[in-house]
Amino acid sequence: MRFPDLARCLSAALWLTNLAGPLVALELEDQRLYPGTGDTVVKVISTGDLDVFEPFILQFQAENPTIGIDYSVTSSAELHTAITQGGVFDVAMSSAMDLQFQLANDGAAQAYSSPVTESLPTWARWRNQVFAFTAEPAVAVISQDLFAGLERPKTRQELIALLRQNPDAFENKIGTYDVQTSGLGYLFATQEARNSDTFWRLSELMGRRGTELYCCSGQMIDEVASGRLALAYNVLGSYAAERIARDDRLEILDLQDYATVMLRTALIPATATETEAAGLFLDRLLQEGMRENSTVWALPPLSAAETPEARAYGPIRLGPALLVYLDRLNRDAFLRAWRDAMVQQ
């Protein structure tokens, strides 16, 4: 699996009950030290897999040979917990923008500004504490084989019609995030529910057809590629595009009504000790994110948020509204409604 960062899923209850809990040992998925020629070591905690970010780190070190990088990979919930409980890190990068926002809102991030952060679009930064460096849409991925002979839907409305008219073709052949365990899936689902009422109709229909629930985009893409699934809904676009480039059994549905675009964000925790080097690292990260075609990673640029579909609703806004779905009561209510729609026995 190439992008295991989304595989790190923790139960929602764990997120919030953990906040006030005792300092628990950090569960790391991966860790590597890239020593520099000097004493400075920037401790980076990230949800991004080393496969993806190693070229970037090496490039950064080529430009700043004195700075060493200690790169730890963990889940977004673990990252959030670690920072809240005072873990000492210099940079925190995460795909869970709501949790990142909450960290900054609760005072766990420190402000940083430089010419590079100033050049970011205003929607891509908050209080000079949270900075977006990629914009990644959620897409629907289909299997070429299982979709043979079927017309490609152009909107979610048409997708609903297609699912209705072809019950057999899709019976137990749809996959989506288990929003109860996946932070990213939850973010996508709540934002889509807010944007359009088709979400609930689609969820209900998907539930009726028997939908498999997954923790991560990678798994879903694997299943579509193998023909186990006909449709995977709300998959990270960057993962799908990267996979399609080397696997022609897959296809991305071109849904033109809207696209939910999430921002991958970075911040400098309040506990950071190497703030100067962390600033350099962050600047370099943002520069890479603003570059139209990056040579060091396969992540989409920030400008992906400017496509017509993404513009219809904009990227998910970095603002206090992100706290709404993190609220315990809201979360319970949403999950209840989602379970009612999706998990039909």
Binding site: L323, L329, A333
Partner: protein, 465 residues
């Protein structure tokens, strides 16, 4: 001089004082307006934030409901989205039923709570290292049969409000500085404008000739009229005092001249009766001394007459040719006594406007000087011609010793005599009288030593009528 106008240099001029005072007032007003705009802007921004917070808390309170005895809440998305409007501010909230946190930040305890439903409690407190504005609303929810009071608190940091406030404050500061600069410009203009009458008044006084003691007739602002009246009174008194002393001199000269004439007549009679040469010489010396005294007295009288008559100059038409002829013939006997030929070359008419007595006295004094300082058996010429199209010129030229070059500029000063005439008796008044007369007539006197030949040359230049 007294130190009535002491102080730093910029305080010595009324204009600068006015400008500085107006600038000071403008500065005070500019600072005041900046402060007012800033505080209003801040208050407006704070009030806006309060309103948004109240709207947010109210919409959360509205979303409260109960189901089978439990209080349920689904935070409305808009309740938090609207908090984005002010700026990038941290947001905290707490919903508490019966003092128990339903959801939100446990430690966000509102400092004051509304007593009744519908009331709003607003307060600024410190929370998690930042100053936050808290708004608490109260709603009673019926849980089963029990009415439960629920407090909804929404808090937000004030970064956005401060940013708006300081942005507006900066704009206001810029405007205030512009206002100040503009006001100073206007102040300088106003000060200059207000002082214009004073300056023109001062210039009118300055422009006057040294002997011009006529009262000033001008329209002046009310504030200046006491000064004008006082000045006119002073000049009037001064004029009277000068006139009195001139009159006194004239009277004195007149009184001296008459007995002198008697003495001279007696001396001449005696000259014819004595026979001894030593006695004759003694008597001649007496006659010469008496002549000199008489001449000086005449000149003093002339001078007094000039001063007196020049104040209210007559404007009659005078033919300079006639006048020159009269004066020349009047001095003919004196000249003949010294064997001096007086030649007149004046063809009339050459009209000027003025006082005939004064002009005669001027020419007579000049001619008298020439006769006095010319050696015997020389010639004095009086010529009349045009100096330029608008001026006549009477030139008196002799073959005497001329003027000494170093004293030329001073010769028309009262009682000042040339440096080369020490051995000749004289008063030094002749040229002074001539110059004062010409000045009064708008003309001038020119003293030169002609290049061709010896002697002095005096030109009296008068504007043609």
């Amino acid at each position: 001089m007294s130190n009535a106008v002491a102080g730093p240099f910029w305080w010595r001029s009324i204009g600068q004082r006015l400008t500085i005072l107006l600038a000071g007032i403008a500065a005070v007003l500019a600072i005041l307006s900046w402060w007012m705009v800033t505080s209003f802007a801040r208050e407006a921004a704070e009030r806006t934030q309060d309103n948004v917070l109240v709207a947010s808390a109210t919409s959360i309170a509205e979303a409260l409901r109960s189901e089978q005895g439990t209080i349920l809440l689904e935070l409305p998305y808009s309740a938090f989205a609207m908090l984005d409007a002010i700026g990038e501010d941290r947001v905290f909230y707490r919903v508490a039923a019966n003092g128990e946190t339903l959801t939100g930040y446990d430690d966000l305890i509102p400092p004051n709570t509304p007593e009744r439903p519908g009331e709003v409690a607003v307060r600024t407190i410190d929370f998690r290292g930042d100053q936050v504005r808290t708004v608490t609303v109260r709603r009673t929810v019926l849980a089963g049969q029990q009415p439960v009071p629920v407090l909804v608190t929404v808090a937000q940091t004030r970064t956005g409000v401060e940013a708006i406030g300081s942005g507006l404050s900066q704009t206001a500061a810029g405007l205030s500085v512009a206002l100040f600069v503009f006001a100073v410009g206007l102040g300088a203009f106003a000060a200059g404008n207000a002082l214009k009458p004073l300056n023109s008044f001062a210039q009118a006084v300055t422009r006057r000739g040294p002997a011009d003691l006529r009262p000033l007739r001008r329209k002046v602002p009310d504030e200046l009229s006491p000064l004008l009246v006082a000045l006119n009174r002073l000049m009037d008194r001064l004029g009277q005092s000068i006139r009195r002393s001139e009159e006194f001199i004239a009277e004195a000269a007149h009184r001296v001249r008459t007995p002198l004439a008697t003495v001279r007549a007696q001396a001449e009679l005696a000259l014819h009766t004595v026979e001894k040469d030593t006695e004759k010489q003694m008597l001649r010396r007496i006659i010469r001394a008496v002549d000199e005294s008489s001449r000086s007295a005449s000149q003093l009288l002339d001078h007094a007459t000039v001063s007196f008559r020049a104040d209210a100059l007559a404007q009659e038409q005078i033919d300079l040719a006639d006048l020159a002829a009269r004066v020349t013939s009047g001095l003919q006997p004196t000249a003949e006594m010294k064997d001096i030929a007086l030649e007149l070359d004046a063809k009339g008419p050459a009209f000027v406007l003025g006082d005939a007595i004064l002009l005669e006295s001027a020419l007579r004094n000049v001619l008298d000087n020439s006769v006095k300082y010319s050696p015997a058996e020389t010639e004095i010429t009086v010529t009349l011609d045009r100096a330029d199209p608008s001026n006549w010129r009477l030139v008196v030229r002799d073959q005497g010793r001329g003027f000494s070059a170093d004293s030329l500029p001073d010769l028309t000063t009262r009682f000042k005599r040339g440096s080369n005439v020490a051995q000749v008796v004289g008063s030094g008044l002749g040229l002074t009288i001539a110059e004062e007369v010409l000045d009064a007539h708008g003309g001038r006197i020119e003293l030169t030593n002609p290049k061709n030949g010896a002697g002095a040359c005096v030109s009296l230049i008068l504007p043609a009528a």
